[in-house]
């Protein structure tokens, strides 16, 4: 285990560690030390703390975590969609050679929808109820290209066909409420990819859909990624989806990364009790109807625990001597060349627990 936390004035645990992606290729998006704080009447909400990651061209990074773990907020910050109102954003976001944090909002706007696009959880509320899908697609084209309405419409039709909308030439004049949930999400995908962006951020794209449709949408995203070479940041709490599509995974908890690594390692050699808990919560064939939920509730982002943010829910915290889990926040340390985790347990302890509990098997 190598600690890489020596060169900073920051408290070691706050130091952000950039875990290199396991795949070769050119880095498209590099997030460093990203923190987002919302000031509210109740105090500062630390929604994201010192998050760092890289996404290479054509690769998929999955960000996993429960509600309020900061996965959506960090992506909205990357897209420049948090506004300047109550959100306080610090850190660096390098995208396609440009620094986005602190740059002119107008420059970031010009990238949105053109070079980086986003799809959302609930496609019904994410599409404007009063405009036809054709009009909303045309608008997406014309926001960035000086083309005629007819040309934009032709492009819209092409994309609708590509995402598998049946009889698209008729459907293009439908309103969102006339389509099914799966079709709406296909429209959202068509709209996001219409300008062939380098990066697609998919914020729980299947959560609001029927289970049968979920697989189709994920399948579609994977096909389109292959075809267009789009890098995808997939925000989800569905580990099944992660196993299907992700190259790298970040597990987020309480606003910061709890564990990060290549998808195989996260599933087969997880290094952090929270990840263990997530994996045990997936139904398996041999479970005989028994799931192991993680006890307790997520931490308050206003009053984060002083020690490990996961300690209050961690059943292994007592194995760490000196009550360190309660008093000292663990550093984000590398456990392998492309793998890092935030845990006070020693490598031996973790290995023993994994073996005893058949985690990752």
């Amino acid at each position: 285990m190598t600690e890489l936390t020596q060169d900073s004035h920051l408290h070691p645990s706050e130091h952000s560690l950039l875990v290199p992606s396991s795949h070769s290729g050119e880095v498209l998006l590099s997030v460093r030390d990203l923190s987002v704080t919302f000031s509210t009447d109740d105090g500062a909400v630390k929604a994201v703390s010192h998050l760092s990651y890289e996404v290479k061209r054509g690769q998929t990074l999955a960000i996993v975590g429960e509600s309020g773990s900061g996965k959506s907020v960090s992506s909205l910050a990357v897209m420049g969609l948090l506004g300047t109102g109550s959100a306080n954003i610090s850190g660096e976001v390098h995208f396609d050679g440009k620094e986005l944090i602190g740059s002119n909002p107008e420059d970031v706007r010009k990238l949105r929808g053109l070079k980086m696009a986003m799809i959302f959880q609930d496609p019904l509320s994410a599409l404007h109820p009063y405009y036809t899908i054709g009009r909303q697609l045309v608008e997406a084209v014309q926001a960035h290209h000086d083309v005629s309405k007819d040309a934009a419409r032709a492009r819209a039709l092409e994309m609708l066909n590509r995402v598998g909308i049946p009889s698209a030439e008729k459907r293009i004049d439908d309103y969102p409420h006339q389509l099914s949930g799966g079709m709406r999400q296909r429209v959202m995908i068509a709209m996001a990819l219409i300008n062939d962006p380098e990066l697609l951020i998919a914020d729980e794209p299947t959560t609001a859909l029927d289970v049968t449709v979920q697989a189709q949408i994920i399948e579609l995203l994977r096909d389109l990624q292959k075809e267009f070479g789009t890098a995808i940041v997939l925000i989800t709490h569905d580990l099944g989806v992660v196993a299907d599509v992700a190259d790298d995974v970040i597990v987020m908890y309480g606003g910061s990364a709890a564990e990060q690594g290549p998808v195989r390692e996260i599933f087969y050699q997880p290094e952090m009790p929270y990840t263990w808990g997530l994996l045990s919560s997936i139904p398996k064939d041999d479970d005989e109807g028994q799931l192991d939920p993680i006890p307790g509730t997520p931490p308050s982002l206003i009053h984060l625990p002083t020690g490990c943010v996961f300690a209050p829910r961690c059943v292994f915290a007592h194995q760490v001597p000196g009550n360190r889990c309660e008093t000292e926040r663990p550093a984000f340390v590398q456990t392998g060349p492309n793998h890092a985790a935030r845990c006070h347990l020693t490598a031996e302890q973790r290995s023993t627990i994994r073996n005893n509990r058949k985690i990752g098997k």
């Binding site: 897209m79 969609l81 109102g85 706007r109 010009k110 990238l111 949105r112 929808g113 053109l114 696009a117 986003m118 959302f120 609930d122 509320s125 994410a126 599409l127 404007h128 109820p129 009063y130 036809t132 608008e139 997406a140 926001a143 960035h144 309103y175 409420h177 959202m188 709209m191 996001a192």
Partner: protein, 315 residues
């Protein structure tokens, strides 16, 4: 709907304990003349028959004998006003344009000012502009129209003499005087309503700006002004249209206080006089007319809903 309205309106006034015949009879009333008035007014019929007669007159007209001279009251006949010595419908048709111009001008003024200010206040929420707008509208909102009207009248007309004393002329006759007479009442009404519409628009805009589809519009890379104008405003429009329709209809029914202050002889003034003199045919007609405006406004609002929101349209 309108039919039900007419029944209610009619009953409201004619079934009152007040005896219309006694009113017409005046101070030198003998039982004989009272009975004669009863027959003349058709009050010797049962109430439903009276109503049907009244309704019949609206569609087909009727003959009225006032004293020795028989008069024909052409359809639509709402009866004869003894107080004004004139057919009710003809009188209303004469004063209606004044009220209509007053309502229309004020409506346009307050909608433009209120909605635009509301949008800007929402867009720059929390700014000094927003705060001062909110403070101003609170004041405008709390002032009764007779206060605003009187203050404007006293200062602008009497003290500073910026505008001559209102002397209403139809726009076709003397456009300058027309504007001169209406500009202050317009402003009076507009202050009151613009304050309300600013607040309504602002809160609507703030609500819709939090919608998911606004985030989508921004994620598409649309400029903020397009997001506000095309996406947020359109979605927040429905309650504004509802209020606007009803308020406009309400004003068409007569802005009693404002008309009185600025000496405009519109529907409001007519209604006020009719109440004071218990001039029943006029009262019924004005009330019915006001109700008709509200019903029609509701219909127009419903049609506009369908234009604005495709989900409301019936396939």
């Amino acid at each position: 709907m309108l039919f039900a309205l007419s029944i209610i309106t009619y009953l409201l006034f004619y079934a009152l304990p007040r005896d219309p015949a006694r009113l017409m009879c005046g101070t030198h009333c003998t039982p004989d003349s009272l009975a004669a008035y009863r027959v003349e007014l058709g009050l010797d019929f049962p109430i439903y028959q009276q109503y049907l007669n009244w309704l019949h007159a609206i569609f087909f007209g009727k003959d009225i004998s006032v004293g020795p001279f028989p008069l024909h009251c052409a359809a639509p006949c709402f009866g004869f006003s003894n107080d004004r010595n004139e057919m009710v419908f003809i009188m209303i048709a004469r004063v209606m344009p004044v009220t209509a111009y007053l309502a229309l001008g004020a409506f346009i003024l307050w909608m433009v000012v209120g909605v635009l200010t509301g949008i800007l206040a929402a867009r720059y929420k929390g700014s000094i502009f927003d705060r001062s707008v909110m403070a101003t509208t609170l004041v405008g909102f709390s002032l009764p129209s007779f206060f605003i009207g009187l203050v404007i009248m006293i200062f602008v007309v009497v003290r500073w003499q910026l505008v001559p004393y209102p002397d209403y002329k139809p726009p076709t006759e003397d456009f300058g005087k027309f504007i001169g007479a209406l500009i202050l009442p317009w402003i009076t009404l507009a202050i009151l309503y613009a304050a309300y519409y600013t607040r309504l628009t602002r809160s609507q805009m703030l609500d819709t700006m939090n919608e998911d589809f606004i985030r989508t519009a921004r994620a598409k890379g649309l400029p903020e002004k397009v997001v506000v104008r095309k996406h947020a405003f359109r979605a927040g429009l429905t309650p504004i249209v509802t209020s606007a329709g009803l308020d406009f209809a309400g004003l068409l029914g007569g802005a009693i206080i404002t008309e009185k202050i600025f000496g405009l002889n519109g529907l409001g003034s007519v209604a006020l006089t009719a109440v004071a003199k218990l001039d029943l045919p006029v009262l019924v007609a004005v009330t019915l007319l006001g109700a008709v405006f509200v019903v029609v406004a509701n219909l127009v609002v419903d049609i506009l809903y369908a234009v604005i929101d495709p989900r409301v349209r019936i396939k």
